[in-house]
Symmetry: C2
Subunit: 217 residues, 2 copies
Amino acid sequence: MAAFAVLITVSDQPGILFGLTKILADRQANITSVDIAHHPDRHSEIYFEFTVEGETEALVAELRGVPGVSGVELTPSFSKIYGKRIIIMGGGAQVGQVALGAIAEADRHNIRGERISVDTIPLVGEENLASAVRAVVRLPRVRLLVLAGSLMGGDISNAVEEVRAKGLLVISLNQAGSVPDVADLVVSDPVQAGVMAVMAIADTAKFDIIRQQKRRY
Amino acid sequence: MAAFAVLITVSDQPGILFGLTKILADRQANITSVDIAHHPDRHSEIYFEFTVEGETEALVAELRGVPGVSGVELTPSFSKIYGKRIIIMGGGAQVGQVALGAIAEADRHNIRGERISVDTIPLVGEENLASAVRAVVRLPRVRLLVLAGSLMGGDISNAVEEVRAKGLLVISLNQAGSVPDVADLVVSDPVQAGVMAVMAIADTAKFDIIRQQKRRY
């Protein structure tokens, strides 16, 4: 099975995604990624990554024939371009320092062929943070979450336990509240937390977060 | 039309997205966002945001009936949780400094009710950067791109012109190469570039990047 990525320009009307997925289903294509990009003053774009047996030429021609479609082009895949993602959330001062460490370390690995993106959202409040933690596992390509704050607990800790049960790695800064108790790893220095986060998911690094379970640095 | 978000747990097999979009199309739902999250050791999840007339109870029941679906739940939307996105790309040292400024400024706006995420990818090389710039407009919720480097030109500048023609705002650090000539705004201090990037897309700020067209700071 070969992997393909296509970018499809469409008009903004109900039923188009149905028309496109029907063609992919008819050809037994397994869709691995999909995104819709809306643009206020021009046509929307739908992006698919999929694996399928055989050639794509006939498939591309069929996609072009779906009503509402104005263009179809084969394109490089997001996983090749943006790769694995780390998400850092919490208070701005600390999120910035963790990002600084993570970006510098990701740079070193990306130069050697890795593709690691470092994404952040500065956010305060128990309810906001708990929702954002729960939503992380719905985002594509996310491997690890860093919680960067000074006091995090309550429902945020419940959310951390839920996403860890779903296989997400979680690093917490050493801080007040119960979040450090439920994280995979606790780190006091925010820059080092960012560096370790990247080391934990880089194939080019030797750091095994499973061997570090529940340690505190 | 009311807006809804649903998270659907599915088995990993061809045709499921087709089955789900058929039901949404039958009810004239307009799908505004879709994501697939694959998990190595458990069921995949498909996430939809859509607008539709009337109640969703019957719709949710129909989605539950699609073969391969094991769960459907209504959930808060990504746009409410992660909001607008700024993407910063380039060399690690500079990406880190721009991120520091952008995260600190996003924190100030998010406290007042905005939702701005700051996403980064440290990346070198003309070809890599040009592909990543072109791919930015395919990512959901991205409003502005910051190019943070010391030398960027050639095909990166072509890519910048293409994405600006599609409505993306682009800020460049003051640097060697032709990218500063094709950006909306050029800034010398990377921290200030990050702050201005957030001000440009925050509804809570008064900065109008259109009035700043082609200025250099």
